[in-house]
């Protein structure tokens, strides 16, 4: 492999890995971050108990914030040695029994708890915390991280939450409960007795929508190569992560490790200059602007950049505005229109018939017979759709249903509607008129009469 190719491969690998596996680098949110950091520090050093909820939309960096705070604190001796981290995920720990078992394992107390019979959940948890206390002169503190916090609220009696908050309120072993959720109304989900024990400390993470310049800078940041020094700094930080005393917090193991990489200054400067040049062009900026308009979260941008970086190959070794446009167009397209354009002419005719019906009857539901009657009126006068048998039309109708372009009224397959014949089952349209219109314009080689019929229901 020639030198240039090898360099490109290493750049691609580096960028991909950093986009995908950098779990600890948080950008922005300085205030929120120091807030959480202070809280954790106080728990570790002064033995204060606390609870906090991190709330923000998907992909806004809630988990990253916690991870980055942990990565900051770990080198700190008083924190690193004195803290246990228990990581629970609402999607994995689906009930309190599973969660408690997992807590025991993560606190490395299986041996102590083995063979004991506990009367209640609270007793069990108290025992676990007691174990920690008995060890040294002052007890270890435990940080509970509850991902998908809202799912824990659905557990029976909210026992786990009640006990955790209860411990954090009373002067027992120092624990810190960090809940992470994307539901703004999560407080309403808590039972009264649980709510009253919660500290009502909430941190909201909202990516700000006003700052487009920052968005462009972020993009530049994610695409450019760092200097050797900063690579080393980051590598050291990652190295510290291995000190995490937790059986479930695994992000450290496969975390992107910048120590493996090194780029010659010549290569780095050339690459970074190229990125700057591309991002300064009008075309690139308008693509970023439209991405920004769709979704301002960093995760969305990373998804876009990942695909962009994946396009790098020896034959086209640079990121260009044209490539950005090509990838961007896939993000902008409407998937439903794409699917509509893949229908056969017959199926499209049915969609048009449904559209006319919906327009005339103000989006009343319809069944196959109604649509077939409308369609056969058209088929009679059309040259292309003549001699299409009813059974074929029914098949086409069913295909539309499988593709969920039309939906049965009484949700799901056979939801108590087994008694109704399929010809008479009522459906509703899951498309907008605009999408249908769009598809009719884009459809390749659509017969003219069908296109005309789409415009006007008169035949």
């Amino acid at each position: 492999m020639p030198e240039a190719d090898r360099e490109l491969v290493s750049i691609r690998r580096f960028l991909k890995e950093r986009l995908q596996r950098d779990y600890t680098t948080l950008r922005g949110y300085a205030e929120e971050r120091s807030n959480v950091r202070l809280l954790l520090q106080r728990t570790a050093e002064m033995g204060e108990s606390n609870s906090l909820l991190l709330i923000g939309p998907r992909g806004s960096g809630k988990t990253t914030l916690i991870n980055s705070v942990l990565a900051d604190l770990l080198p700190n001796k008083s924190f690193g040695e004195n803290t246990l981290i228990v990581h629970l995920d609402g999607n994995l720990h689906t009930d309190d029994r599973v969660a408690l078992k997992s807590i025991t394992v993560q606190m490395q107390l299986e041996n102590a708890a083995d063979g004991k019979v506990f009367g209640s959940f609270a007793e069990n948890l108290a025992f676990l915390l007691q174990c920690l206390k008995s060890g040294g002169k002052n007890s270890k503190c435990v940080v509970f991280i509850l991902e998908e916090f809202d799912l824990f609220c659905a557990h029976h009696n909210q026992t786990l939450l009640y006990n955790l908050f209860d411990v954090s309120q009373s002067a027992q072993a120092p624990i810190c409960v960090l809940g992470v959720t994307c539901r703004l109304d999560v407080i309403e989900l808590l039972e009264k007795r649980v709510k009253s024990r919660f500290s009502h400390r909430q941190v909201f993470l909202f990516p700000s929508s006003q700052r487009f310049e920052e968005y462009v800078d972020l993009c530049k940041d994610l695409l450019s190569l760092p200097t050797g020094n900063s690579l080393l700094l980051a590598a050291e930080r990652i190295y510290n992560l291995q000190n995490i005393q937790s059986g479930a917090l695994y992000f450290s193991r496969n975390h992107f490790d910048s120590g493996e990489y090194g780029f010659s200054p010549r290569l780095r400067d050339a690459w970074n200059k190229q990125i700057c040049k591309v991002l300064a062009t009008q075309q690139a900026r308008s693509i970023l602007q439209s991405l920004h308009d769709f979704d301002i979260s960093e995760a969305y941008l990373k998804n876009f950049l990942f695909r962009l970086v994946a396009h790098l190959r020896p034959l086209s070794p640079h990121i260009t505005a044209e490539k950005m446009a090509a990838v961007g167009s896939q993000f902008e397209g409407d998937d439903k229109i794409e699917l509509l354009c893949g229908l056969s002419v017959l199926e499209l005719c049915l969609i048009i018939a449904i559209k006319h019906h919906s327009e005339i009857y103000d989006r009343d539901p319809f069944n196959f017979e109604i649509i077939y009657a409308r369609f056969s009126k058209f088929a009679k006068v059309s040259t292309t759709m003549q001699a299409v048998e009813r059974s074929i039309v029914l098949k086409a109708f069913e295909h539309l249903r499988i593709a969920e372009l039309i939906m049965p009224l009484s949700g799901g397959a056979g939801g108590g509607v087994g008694k109704v014949q399929k010809e008479f089952e009522m459906h509703k349209l899951a498309l907008t008129y605009g999408q249908i219109q769009h598809c009719v314009q884009r459809y390749q080689a659509l017969p003219t009469e069908v296109a005309q019929w789409a415009q006007s229901s008169l035949i």
């Binding site: 992000f251 998804n303 009343d364 109704v420 080689a445």
Partner: protein
């Protein structure tokens, strides 16, 4: 990555772009995989075949473990997790047991941890729309499996739906969506034409006994001939069906009919317009058979007209019911499709004068959408069925058990069906409905000489 792509491209014509994109994203196990890829497109666009081949190539050339499963097969989450774990970490053998999602993730972490660097894991899930009906945590966990297990792992979801159909209340993490577009006409023709050699060999084998035919066949069946045939074939079928496997199946079936006059020596192989006249009819009748896959024994398959005549008319005429049962069926249809308050006017001789008010006139102004024949059958009681039966039957028959047993015969034939009260027929609270269509009942009426339309409120 290049090797994988170039080995797949000949297998999947017209899918070069998709193969390349997949190769860029998951072609190299030493680079980071994206956490999830969502591949969607209509049925028959090659989602499954392409992914399966791609995974196989990856497993062969690189240090990648792959798992391919169909969500339909997994009626519980546990089954799915065990299948996944079994193919990703096969060392465990029979001892494999996964209780819940946490168990799965932890076993995956544990089992796969001490392995070599650059180990990749690829999971493909067919019919991913079924994941929505499974436990609520399956889909979110699958989409974030890379982060949770910290392996170089990618989940590929295959489905016919756009990804927006998967969103739940709290949203999902980001995925990379790839669309496999339906083939256009030229591409379809190219794909259908790509099996020319195979078709030709099959034909030659078929006529190996018959020397004369073999010669004609060898001479006539050329690439051009086959392409012309496909062109004609698509001109009929393409508007109704774009599903390539279905088209392929039907195209092979019809080829023998197309070839027939050439083999007989009546039409020249290059005379396309005469061949078209010959094939147009059978193709149109084959169009009515598409998707049905009615398999006929070899000798009957030649005779396409036989298959064609499975229309409603034939079916109704060939249905051998007793005379009274036919009238019962008609009565059931009338009971299903007329309102009960109209019965007096329809079936009683002196039903008195109708008062006409503007309101009722307007209410009766019918549009096709409101006709009961398009809205579906209503239920009726057995009493009403018998009353209408006696009203439309001119002769007098006794209410015997022979007559009543015919109702249950009709139910067994699925011409009538119980809506409710299946258990208490004797009390008279059971309600039935008629499941046949208008066209069918008109034919039945014709057989017994009864004009059904006359008695339908829809047509007055």
């Amino acid at each position: 990555m290049e090797a994988i792509c170039s080995s797949l491209e000949p297998l999947f014509p017209c899918r070069e772009a998709a193969i390349e994109t997949l190769g860029e994203l998951i072609g190299d196990s030493s680079e980071a995989y994206p956490s999830a890829i969502y591949l969607f497109g209509h049925s028959g666009t090659g989602k499954t075949a392409l992914t399966r081949a791609f995974l196989k190539e990856c497993g062969k050339r690189q240090n990648v473990r792959t798992a391919h499963l169909n969500a339909i097969e997994c009626y519980t989450t546990k089954i799915m997790l065990e299948i996944l774990l079994d193919s990703l970490v096969p060392e465990q053998g029979d001892a494999l047991k996964v209780d819940n999602m946490l168990d799965f993730v932890e076993q995956l972490r544990r089992q796969a941890a001490p392995r070599v660097e650059d180990q990749g894991f690829l999971i493909a899930v067919d019919n991913a729309e079924r994941l929505r009906d499974m436990d609520a945590n399956v889909l979110p966990v699958l989409l974030r499996l890379q982060e949770l297990t910290n392996l170089n792992l990618c989940v590929i979801l295959l489905s016919q739906l756009p990804f927006e159909k998967f969103y739940n209340k709290t949203g999902l993490s980001e995925v990379i969506c790839l669309h496999l577009a339906q083939y256009n006409k030229a591409e379809t023709q190219r794909i259908l034409g790509s099996d020319f050699e195979q078709v030709r060999n099959q034909l030659l084998e078929q006529f190996a006994q018959d020397k004369k035919r073999l010669e004609i066949c060898q001479e006539a069946v050329t690439e051009d001939f086959y392409n012309n045939y496909l062109n004609l074939f698509l001109s009929v079928f393409y508007k109704a069906c774009r599903d390539v496997p279905e088209l392929q199946l039907t195209a092979r079936k019809c080829l023998s009919i197309y070839l027939e006059p050439v083999l007989d020596g009546t039409v020249d192989a290059t005379d396309i317009s005469r061949l078209w006249r010959h094939i147009a009819g059978p193709l149109r009748s084959a169009l009515t058979q598409i998707y049905m896959r009615i398999e006929k024994p070899a000798e009957e398959a030649e005779d396409f007209t036989a298959i064609e005549d499975q229309s409603v008319r034939k079916l109704a005429q060939s249905l051998e019911l007793p005379y009274y049962a036919k009238f019962l069926l008609i009565a059931a249809f009338l009971a299903s499709h007329n309102a009960a308050n109209q019965d007096k006017r329809l079936f009683v001789k002196h039903h008195g004068k109708q008062r006409k008010r503007m309101q009722t006139v307007n209410a009766r102004a019918k549009t096709t959408e409101k006709m009961s024949t398009t809205l579906g059958p209503k239920s009726f009681s057995i009493d009403r069925l018998l009353a209408i039966f006696y009203a439309i039957l001119e002769e007098k028959v006794g209410l015997t058990c022979n007559l009543l047993s015919q109702i249950s015969t009709l139910v067994h034939l699925k011409l009538l069906s119980f809506v409710s009260g299946e258990q208490n027929i004797m009390e008279g609270s059971a309600r039935l409905q008629c499941t046949i269509g208008l066209e069918f009942v008109l034919q039945i009426g014709k057989v017994v000489g009864f004009n059904v339309r006359q008695y339908l409120c829809d047509f007055m």
